[in-house]
Amino acid sequence: MTSTAAVLDNTANTASEIPAPDGSVTVTVKIQRFNPEVDSEPHWESYDVPALPTDRVLNLLINIKGYVDGTLSFRRSCAHGICGSDAMQINGMNRLACKVLVKDLLAKKGKPTTITVAPIKGLPVMKDLYVDMEPFFEAFRAVKPFLISYGNEPSRERIQSPADRERFDDTTKCILCACCTTSCPVYWADGSYFGPAAIVNAHRFIFDSRDEGAEERLDILNDTEGVWRCRTTFNCTDACPRGIQVTKAIQEVKRALLFKRV
């Protein structure tokens, strides 16, 4: 099996073939690369690429892949922050590459800009920015993330007041991108913790007035892998690209457990 030879850290790949539109500047994108087919461990590679201030970091990755090194691998789909595919560490913070604009990363006073990109932490790296999402979705599925109701199905819609609907609005916004869970120090230390995303999705049902499964779910979350592991460090809230108050949601679940009341 062949693969492009890795160019190590300080020698940047020049990307002269990427079209450089008017107004673009050159930035260095430094990416953590790893292909277990050929590499024994991860390493960094750098690419000098033209970038417009309005470019998304995702555009830069797409250009590097298209023109410089097709082996660079990462997930992407919607390109505007709603599908949750492209969570990665950008300059050390968990972000969606399609929601970070170059202008917000440019160094001051025309100094050279380096943007570092690495896979999200705490999930096994499969290749470059691809991580194994299965453990993440497993935790999600474990909290029974679906409406539970007993008795007869109503013939029309269930009635829910705007105020009751508002109560869980924030947590319905989750796109399962894993930015929160993979920024959580407790999750890094011990992957058996459900992680904030799963709790957010449990919250979405526990506080839905139509749902009758709160107790089952709270039992699950009361477990040793459950909410009590959270140490309220707010990393998750800072990481969430949907602006969900993740830590607050976790606190609400804890309170529901303490006072047996939702």
Binding site: I62, T71, S73, C78, C83, E157, P162, D169, I175, D208
Partner: protein, 598 residues
């Protein structure tokens, strides 16, 4: 190579695929094959709403909805199908509510509804509140709710499996569908899935254009696979341009914004839609609004430094409405254009949005091999399909409806069929074509790059085959696409590995895009009239005498063969071959074609 056997296969896990899976999964042994994790599907990008005549906030009924759908489609809509969709819309919304979808609510606690383009009271008298919604993330909520219910029902998913071919077997009673061939992204392995029925739900192909609201992954794989078998694609010339894409970017701002009262203005601040659609103005159907915007720009009334866009003015709606009912699009404008819709008008221009055409189906979701005959075991639903409920122009909210109504129907039909027959044997070496294509691509040393061919394809399609078309622009587009197909034969990928080789898959996807672009342009050239999403400058009027009919595009395969062809690019039989155009009658029930005024 791995081998699997199921009763029902669903290809695609967007709204249509998962709605089908929920039905099929409860009736038969079902597997869902999807190139994306289900929750990454582009159904999640849908914003504005899903129409159903619930009449929760004002008088409404399904017959009005049917009429609007037919008229909105410029009478190319099959009226029997439109009626089914409008009738079943009510249950489709209630089904989702029962599954847990958090719709916005009225003060009484019922599902709230808002206005949307082309949806009217009593056959066009005024705009009606028909769209059920969840802020401006209705599609997100539908996708999440359907995935949640798939989890509940224990539906089996094969995530990041790219289906690259379907398997058809010849029997005494003709061809039947017997399986699908998939490429596993993680390992590069080829999998053969045998089944009794297969539902295609692979979504659209917006990536033939540069400026589009569609995801990078919307490359029309399902349509491409179907077409390469010599099977027809219906109404490919009808591609919808949504009026309000963020200028230069194509990211969508929902029509729900205009439903809530936002107004389109030209550089002089004029509400120009009053001139084009005096009754419902900014809430005219998309084809009419998109054409009007382009005319404003062509006639010198565009805004901005290059006078190449118009404004969507939301400033009078107030921060509260924007934050509560349109929060996501407010954020898109802020993030990507640095413009705050609360205080400034937003630059917008039409963006390639939705394929009205696709795999022709019956109202039960059965895929058609010609104007009438079905291929037993093969089904299609969602944007990949053409029932046709959208005719030449889809009304806003009718796609989320389509995926739910016809996703459900196809899921039920596929499972019932599977339960009524046995497995049919697969042909010899069912995966030969895919293996050949993948191996050729992996080892190809040609000098052509995927990114360059794709960029040029998108450029010519944006310039020559977008909102307005002429004989000349379409001929140019056809010429360009065919030249690019030629170059595609020399495409090489840089990644020669097996793991997560998206380089290779992008090359495969590009092949589908090229095929579909050619179909689109070819059918558009032949349709010498203007209707709905197809506007010909050289033939500005609708011509019911000659063109009140659906187009059907067939790939002409050399000697009728569908096996691998060692001489063709990547072994793709007939990749460069001709297209045969045929036509299919429109189904009329109660509405006579009229001139379309709003």
């Amino acid at each position: 190579m791995q081998f699997h056997k199921y009763d029902v296969l669903i290809v695609g896990a967007g709204g249509a695929g998962m709605r089908a899976a929920i039905e099929a999964g409860q009736r038969a042994r079902t597997a869902v094959l999807t190139k994306l994790y289900p929750t990454r599907s582009h159904t999640g990008a849908a914003q504005g709403g899903m129409c159903a005549a619930l009449a929760n906030v004002e008088e409404d009924n399904w017959e009005w909805h049917t009429f609007d759908t037919v008229k909105g489609g410029d009478y190319l809509t099959d009226q029997d199908a439109a009626e089914i969709m409008a009738k079943e819309a009510i249950d489709a919304v209630l089904d989702l509510e029962r599954m847990g979808l958090p719709f916005n609510r009225t003060e009484d606690g019922t599902i709230d509804q808002r206005r949307f383009g082309g949806h009217t009271r009593d056959h066009g008298k005024a705009a009606v509140r028909r769209a059920c919604y969840a802020a401006d993330r209705t599609g997100h909520m539908i996708l999440q709710t359907l995935y949640q219910n798939c989890v509940k029902h224990g539906i089996e998913f094969f995530n990041e499996f790219y289906v690259l071919d379907i398997v058809l077997s010849d029997t005494e009673d003709g061809q039947v569908a017997t399986g699908a061939i998939a490429y596993e992204l993680a390992t590069g392995e080829i999998h053969v899935f045998q089944a009794k029925s297969i539902v295609f739900a692979t979504g659209g192909f917006g990536k033939v254009f540069k400026t589009t609201s569609n995801a990078h992954t919307l490359t029309g794989d399902g349509m491409g696979i179907y077409y390469r078998k010599g099977l027809p694609l219906e109404d490919m010339e009808f591609y919808q341009f949504h009026p309000t894409g963020l200028a230069g970017l194509g990211i969508l701002l929902t029509e729900g914004a205009r439903g809530e009262g936002a107004i389109l203005r030209n550089k002089d601040g004029e509400r120009f839609m009053e001139r084009y659609a005096p009754t419902i103005k900014d809430l005219a159907p998309r084809d009419i609004v998109a054409r009007s915007m382009v005319l404003e720009v062509l006639e010198g009334r565009g805004a901005g430094p290059d006078a190449d866009y118009v404004y969507l003015d939301c400033t009078h709606l107030g921060a509260e409405v924007l934050e509560s009912k349109l929060p996501d699009i407010t954020e898109f404008a802020r993030t990507y254009l640095g413009i705050d819709p609360v205080t400034e008008p937003v630059p917008v221009y039409p963006t390639a949005h939705y394929a009205m055409g696709g795999i022709p189906t019956t109202v039960r979701g059965e895929a058609l091999r010609d104007n009438d005959a079905v291929i037993p075991g093969l089904y299609a639903a969602g944007e990949v399909a053409c029932v046709s409920v959208h005719g030449s122009n889809r009304l806003g909210t009718n796609s989320l409806l389509d995926i739910n109504v016809f996703g459900k129907r196809a899921g039920i039909a596929a499972a019932e069929y599977a339960n009524s027959v046995g497995h049919v044997e697969l042909p010899d070496e069912p995966a030969a074509m895919v293996q050949g294509m993948v191996e050729t691509l992996r080892s190809a040393e040609g000098g052509e790059r995927v990114v360059e061919i794709r960029t040029e394809l998108q450029r010519t399609m944006d310039i020559n085959a977008a909102v307005y078309r002429t004989e000349d622009t379409l001929k140019q587009a056809l010429h360009d696409v065919q030249a690019l197909k030629e170059r595609y034969g020399r495409v090489a990928v840089m990644d020669k590995g097996k793991r997560y080789n998206t380089d290779l898959l992008e090359a495969v996807e590009l092949g589908f895009l090229l095929d579909l672009a050619e179909c689109l342009v070819n059918a558009a050239l032949a349709r010498k009239e203007s209707r709905g999403g197809h506007a010909r400058e050289d033939y500005p009027d609708r011509d019911d005498t000659n063109f009140m009919r659906h187009s059907m595009s067939y790939k002409v395969l050399p000697g009728g063969s569908t096996g691998p062809d060692p001489d063709a690019p990547l072994g793709l039989t007939g990749f460069l071959s001709d297209i045969r155009l045929d036509y299919k009658p429109v189904v009329f029930t109660r509405y006579e074609p009229m001139e379309r005024k709003y």
